[in-house]
Every structure is written in C-alpha cells, then in structure tokens.
C-alpha cells in the first residue's frame, strides 16, 4: 500500500513537517548547541549521519526484528551510530567536538530520530527510508542553522565567525546564553504562527468573496 511518492517522502520533512519547527521534536539540541552557526552545522551533520544510517539499517533489517523488542533494537542501532559519529568527529573535527561536548552523546535520545524509525523506516523500504531521513535531516539542519544564525548575529555580531558589524556593536550576550535559545525559538515559532494564520484568513476571505 503505497500512499506517498518518493518525492513527497523527501520533501515532507524539509518544511511542511519540519521536525523542529512543526513537529517540535529534537528541541534539546536545537536549544542547546545553536549558540553559533558552526556548532549548529556540526550538530546537524552528526544527526544527519546518525539518522540516515539508522534509517537504512533498520528498514533493511525490519523483518528480523521481533515486534516486542523493536524499540530496544532501534535505540541500540542509533546508539551505535552516535558512538561512531562521536569518535569520527573527535578525530576529524576536534574543535567542533570540544564545543558540542556532551550533546553528541545525547543524539541517542533525540526523539526525532527514534520517531522516524518507528513511524517510517520500520514500515518502508530502505530507499524510501533514506529519502525520508534526508528530508528530515535537511529540515533539522534548516531549523538549527536558522536559530544559530539569529543567535550568533545578535549575540556575537558575526555570522560563521565573520564579524558583521563595526567594533561599536555591543553584543546581546543573552542570545548566546541558554535563555537566548528559548527566546529565539519562541520568536521563530511566533513568526511562523503569524504567517500561517494570515495565510489562512486570506484564504478564507477569498473563499467568502468567491462564494
């Protein structure tokens, strides 16, 4: 029973069902490590790697995993890939690894990844699971880079470490502190809700006008 096309599998997670901004999953890393764009990118890359690998592996092996122990098996697979990502990052991107610290290990409990395994990979073939993981991973990256961008621009006055304003800019330190994460996420959701509602009202008005 095929209900979605491969393109939809891929596109869905990017914006329409964006894991962070719409589904509100994976908020812990979205709040914790987005104090700079570089950190947001490193976190996204690690999550992307873990999710793609686990999705393919789980959808390949789904026939061998008894229903009763599926969640433990998924977590085992995810934890393995997280450990690999942790070691590879430490070896090849030690500076980012130092910045991200404990949050790499916490990718294991990112409910976004487990959610995709339970609702999608465990029921679909590896190719479509990979597309779904790519889409969701890109959506996650967009959300994190958006937050990291806002926080770095206002909190440090730079983007990806490149200073944007003159030396007279006084950074809003709160934006790079944990509180800034909550504020930024709140404002982004506020803006999205506002535009969503405006679009709806306009559509309704249009429908009323035509009827």
């Amino acid at each position: 029973m095929r209900t979605t096309s491969p393109t939809q599998d891929f596109v869905r997670g990017i914006w329409k069902e964006n894991p962070v901004l719409i589904q509100m999953l994976g908020l812990c890393p979205a709040l914790a490590v987005t104090n700079s764009v570089a950190n947001a990118l490193a976190m996204s890359a690690a999550t992307f790697f873990v999710m793609s690998c686990s999705s393919v592996l789980i959808s390949t092996c789904k026939r061998f995993i008894p229903h009763e122990v599926r969640i433990s098996s998924y977590i085992l697979v995810i934890a393995t890939f997280v450990t690999l990502a942790d070691m590879l990052l430490q070896a090849y991107a030690p500076v980012q690894h130092k910045e991200l610290g404990a949050f790499i290990a916490l990718i294991v409990v990112n409910c976004m990844i487990l959610g995709r395994q339970e609702t999608f990979s465990s029921k679909n073939n590896p190719f479509r699971s990979l597309l779904d993981a790519f889409g969701t991973g890109i959506g996650f990256t967009i959300a994190l880079v958006m937050m990291g961008g806002f926080r770095e621009i206002f909190g440090v006055g730079a983007f990806l470490g490149v200073p944007l304003f003159g030396p007279n800019f006084e950074p809003w330190v709160i934006m790079v502190l944990p509180a800034g994460g909550f504020l930024t996420l709140g404002f982004i959701l506020l803006a999205m809700g506002y535009f969503e509602q405006r679009k709806k009202t306009k559509a309704e008005q249009k429908a009323e006008a035509t009827s």
């Binding site: 008894p66 690999l84 070691m87 610290g101 330190v173 502190l177």
Partner: protein, 249 residues
C-alpha cells in the same frame, strides 16, 4: 500539476491515519508468541555486531585523537614557556621527578611537569597542568612557572565549559590572559579590576566572570603549593645531555 495537487491533501491525511492502522496490520501476520529465545538472540546478535563496529572504528580513530591531544599539549607547553627550545616530561614517582615510569605502570596515573630547556640545556621554566572546578565544570589550565624567580611566565586554558560570553573570557579576553604572560609573582592575588595597589602579584579579575577568573588564579596557586616542595629539591637535567652536562662546581 493538477492531478497530484488534488491528491495531496488526502495523502497527508492518509499518512497520519495510517500509522496506528498499519501497526495493527503488522501485528496481524505474527499473532503467535515470539519465543523468548528469539528476542534475546536478536538483541544479543545486534549488540555483538554494534560492539564490533565500535571497536573497529575506535581502532582507527584513537591514534588520530591521541595525536591531536598530544599536539595541543605540545603547542600549549611552548606557549606558556616563552623562549624554550625543547622540553622534557617528568613524572612524579615516589615524591621524586623521573623521566621513566616504574614497570607496568600506566602513564595516565602519574602527575607530571614539563621542564623547558633553552638551547644550552639549562632549565628556564616548568609547565604544569591542573584542573579544578570553575563555574560550570572543571577548568583545565596549563601554566609556565620559573622556579628560580617564582614568577608565572604564561597561562593557557586547555579545556573549559565556562559560560559563553561571560566565563569564557578567561581565554577570550586578552587583557586578562596577557597579565599571566607579564610575569606576575606568586602566589597570585586576584583583585577587582582597577582596584589593585600595584603589587607585583596582582591579577585583575574579569567583571562578570569573577568565579571563573578566581578559579584560574586558585588553580595556579594550588598547583604551585603542591609542586613547590618537589621542584625545590632540584630538577634533574635532561636525560639526553646527562653525559656532557658536567656542571661546574
């Protein structure tokens, strides 16, 4: 464009409804009890494979990680001991300094100092690393110290998770860091910025990061207090030039 668009709304609804439904559908073909053995075996095999994979990758990445750490340490030692040609690592073995460890001992269990030498092999300074609690987590500091004058010759933060924007000024605020390179006398005394009396052992603390800056100063003082008795007993010359280093009486 028109046909798929029309279906789109329906499709999305379908996915959401489908999840619980297909869950039940999946249960249907396997209603018979799965044996406990199979459950345990699945997890055991998966666990074994996962362990194997992790070990293989670790074998590959560990040397790279260790090399990077050693390089970082080396850079730090040269940074905090200005004008040093090379350095020797001495371990604290039985209250004495030794370049070699007892047989079968693990390197990581021993405290150590890095003794900097100039081109003639004379000791010019000692670098010591130490970690203690800061504001968030342990701050790892390495600093250079000249045992002859008792002055600090430099300081570098090896590892810290201090608050970005505030506590991280202990390594980002160059006015603070430079004070340690200006050769302050020990024991260091942290003072509120601008309220110092001009004593040679004063360090201006960072406004807004008092706990973190105090921690750095405290770490250096504690390390010196711990190592002073050992260093006062004399630092052995480099094992490499033991033979030619005939010191004049």
């Amino acid at each position: 464009m028109n046909q798929p668009e029309d279906n789109k709304g329906q499709i999305d609804v379908k996915i959401q409804v489908e999840d619980p439904a297909s869950d039940a559908a999946q249960d249907a073909p396997a209603p018979e009890e799965v044996s406990t053995f199979r459950l345990v075996a699945t997890l055991a095999i998966a666990g074994a494979l996962a362990g194997l994979l992790i070990v293989l990758v670790n074998l590959h990445t560990k040397p790279i990680i260790d090399k990077w750490k050693a390089e970082q340490l080396q850079i730090a030692v040269y940074e905090v001991l200005p004008g040093v040609e090379r350095y020797d690592t001495f371990y604290l073995v039985d209250d004495g300094l030794s370049t070699t460890l007892p047989d079968g001992a693990k390197e990581s269990e021993f405290k150590r100092v890095y003794v900097g030498r100039d081109e003639k092999g004379e000791t010019t300074g000692v670098a010591i690393s130490r970690g203690e609690s800061g504001f968030q987590d342990v701050i790892m500091v390495i600093f250079g110290h000249d045992p002859a004058t008792g002055k600090v010759s430099g300081m570098k933060i090896l590892d810290s998770k201090e608050t970005p924007g505030l506590g991280d000024k202990i390594f980002k605020d160059m006015d603070f860091v430079d004070q340690f390179f200006a050769g302050p006398e020990t024991p260091l005394l942290g003072v509120k910025a601008g309220s110092g009396k001009g004593e040679p052992n004063e360090i201006d603390m960072i406004t807004g990061a008092t706990i973190s800056s105090k921690a750095v100063i405290q770490i250096i003082n504690n390390a010196l207090a711990e190592w002073k008795p050992v260093l006062d007993r004399g630092i052995p010359s480099s094992p490499a030039d033991e033979a030619p280093a005939e010191e004049a009486p």
